[in-house]
């Protein structure tokens, strides 16, 4: 399970970094979302991976999983959603104003060159 989770986080981060470097607003927004997913999984895993441990206090249970990473992830998810919403609106505004979806606002001709 450790290897699988590590691979998932690695792939998500890799995809996120690749898309962020694409210099077009839509891939950049997608890349930021992927990075946010990767970091949320990473934070979640920082409480160590466990099976059969209760997250909520119950009777007759002695083993509990670490509640703090869950609280952190919850906050991080909310913040990353808000930020993603903001960056989507901003890139729409930039597209309307700069007439291009390039992050530097360069207008491209048919061949894709500047």
């Amino acid at each position: 399970m450790e290897i699988l989770l590590a691979l998932i986080i690695a792939v998500l981060t890799g995809v996120g970094v690749f898309l962020t470097l694409r210099a077009r607003t839509f891939p950049v927004v997608l890349g930021l979302t992927f990075l946010a997913y990767a970091v949320n999984l990473f934070l979640f895993a920082m409480g160590r991976l466990n099976i059969n441990q209760a997250a909520i206090i119950q009777e007759n249970v002695s083993n509990y999983s670490d509640p703090l990473p869950q609280a952190l992830v919850l906050t991080a998810i909310v913040i990353s959603f808000g930020m993603t919403a903001f960056v989507i609106v901003l890139s729409l505004k930039a597209y309307g104003e700069l007439k291009s979806d390039h992050v530097d606002g360069k207008v491209l001709d048919k061949d894709g060159d500047k």
Binding site: L32, L43, M46, P69, T75, V87, L90, S91, K93, G105
Partner: protein
């Protein structure tokens, strides 16, 4: 338990929401609430500052009365309340200018965003744990994104897009670093982390070191250190003047976080990791100063030049942190007070020049504009103060940092880089000043005339006032900054007050 530490956070938060609620009663009400909130904030922070200076206490505010390593705490010590005081005084100057130049009317919600920005800043200065530092960073960033884009101007959206994307990537790195530190140390409270680092197993040292350096990258991004400063000149140069003035404190948040988080966690008790980040800070500071000076020299536009001047002051502070002695840190805090106010005031002067002259570009000849003498005098005194010439405060700050560097092993490099950069800054400022005020032409028709109002002039003078005040009261202020620096080096008091342990293991 005293409630003082949470008041500077609550005032702007309540003000921000009251402005939204009272929006239907007109713009004037929002303006008044905003001003009243900042004035209240100034009173609270100055009184607390005086109180803390006399008692030298560290106030810990436990939210929900949970004990420190488990619950969230706010920590108020002399450094954090000093930063809060600087923020509120600076915000007052910026808000005054925004109201007198009617910049706040260019779009809706200026005042509530302004208050939320102050809320995030004060929270970042007062928080005692690293995850809340992240949360407050996000609050102040989100407010700053919206303030940056407030109103319409050429190129603002593009600069804003770059600023937002690079800061979002920075936030991701911040969370990775926080996660790693939590995974190893099992805590997020700064004081508790410092204690746990001193007990660290040798096999985990390299992981914690890597996470610490990742945090340094994030704080470096906020404080615009090399190579992460490229967003700053365009973002600060394109936004409206009062927002740029308020942003003068934003780079200092990054520096404050380096002093607070790295200085406490990787302080002298950290064993093998003690001060391992210092060489990075020093070298990067020297590189940033060199490149920022070239930026000042190469700028073709006044606001761009001021943005690079902010960068030079940040890098001098990085160098002072990198020297890592008590005297250097005391000088750094003195220089931080000076550079924040003066850089903010310089942004306002640049905006006045831009409005009066209709262009900020140095290579464009313009006719002599109305009130050029007053504006030129303002430019002159700000240039003297920012370049660090005597008799104003920049000179004393630099002297303190440079004299502290004399005991450092790389004295020659530090001295030569700082002094040559100061000389080049003086040259660049005299060049741009003569281009703006002397290189005039009658060929161009003067456009609509800008009238410098008394209120605008007063707001700029308010921010300038700190340069002579810092010189006149240099003795008590340096004593105060030196005690702060001494407290920062002896972290055991901070740690034991926050997490209630008997003694920090040496």
């Amino acid at each position: 338990m005293t409630h003082t530490p949470i008041i500077p956070i609550l005032i702007p938060l309540i003000a921000a929401f009251s402005i939204l609620i009272t929006k239907r009663y007109g713009f004037k009400v929002g303006q008044t609430i905003s001003l009243l909130s900042i004035i209240a904030l100034i009173f609270v922070s100055i009184f607390t500052l005086i109180d803390i200076t006399s008692t030298e206490e560290v106030l810990v505010y436990k939210l929900g009365n949970w004990e420190a390593p488990f619950g969230i705490v706010l920590v108020l010590d002399s450094l954090s309340i000093l930063m809060v005081s600087i923020t509120s005084l600076l915000a007052f100057g910026a808000l005054w200018y925004a109201i007198s130049e009617k910049i706040d009317k260019e779009g809706v919600h200026f005042h509530s965003l302004f208050q939320l920005q102050i809320f995030g800043l004060n929270g970042a200065f007062l928080t005692g744990d690293i995850f809340n530092l992240f949360v407050f960073f996000e609050i102040l960033l989100l407010a700053s994104y919206s303030l940056l884009l407030h109103g319409k101007a050429e190129g603002r959206t593009k600069a804003g897009l770059h600023y937002v994307i690079i800061n979002l990537i920075g936030s991701t790195l911040f969370l990775f670093a926080v996660g790693t530190l939590y995974g190893i140390l099992g805590t997020l409270n700064i004081a508790d982390m410092a204690y746990k680092v001193s007990l660290l197993d040798s096999e985990n040292i390299s992981v914690v070191a890597a996470a610490g350096l990742l945090l340094l990258v994030v704080f470096g991004l906020k404080s615009a250190m090399f190579p992460l400063y490229l967003w700053l000149p365009s973002a600060y140069g394109k936004t409206s003047a009062p927002v740029a003035a308020l942003f003068a404190i934003m780079t200092k948040v990054g520096l404050y976080a380096i002093i607070r988080v790295h200085g406490t966690i990787f302080g002298e008790n950290a064993g093998e990791l003690a001060y391992y980040y210092i060489p990075w800070v020093l070298n990067i500071g020297l590189i940033t100063l060199t490149l920022a000076t070239f930026g000042v020299l190469a700028s073709k536009e006044i606001r761009n030049q001021v943005a690079y001047l902010v960068l030079t002051s940040v890098s001098i502070l990085l160098i002072a942190i990198g020297i890592n002695s008590q005297d250097a840190l005391g000088g750094a805090i003195y220089y931080m007070i000076h550079s924040t106010f003066l850089a903010a005031g310089f942004f306002l002067v640049a905006d006045v020049i831009l409005k009066a002259r209709t262009t900020g570009y140095f290579d464009k000849q313009m006719p002599i504009f109305k009130e050029a003498i007053i504006i030129g005098a303002l430019f002159f005194i700000f240039a003297v103060a920012v370049a660090g010439l005597p008799p104003l405060s920049g000179f004393f700050g630099k002297i303190m940092i440079l004299s502290a560097s004399l005991e450092h092993t790389h004295t020659a490099i530090i001295l030569s880089v700082v002094l040559i950069s100061s000389l080049l800054i003086i040259i660049a400022l005299s060049k741009s000043g003569s281009a703006i005020f002397y290189d005039t032409t009658l060929d161009v028709e003067p456009l609509d005339e800008y009238k410098l109002s008394k209120s605008t002039l007063a707001s700029i003078f308010f921010l300038f006032l700190f340069a002579p005040l810092l010189v006149i009261f240099a003795n008590p202020i340096t004593e105060f900054t030196n005690t702060i620096a001494a407290n920062l080096f002896d972290t055991s008091k901070y740690i034991t007050t926050v997490i209630n342990i008997e003694e920090v293991i040496k």
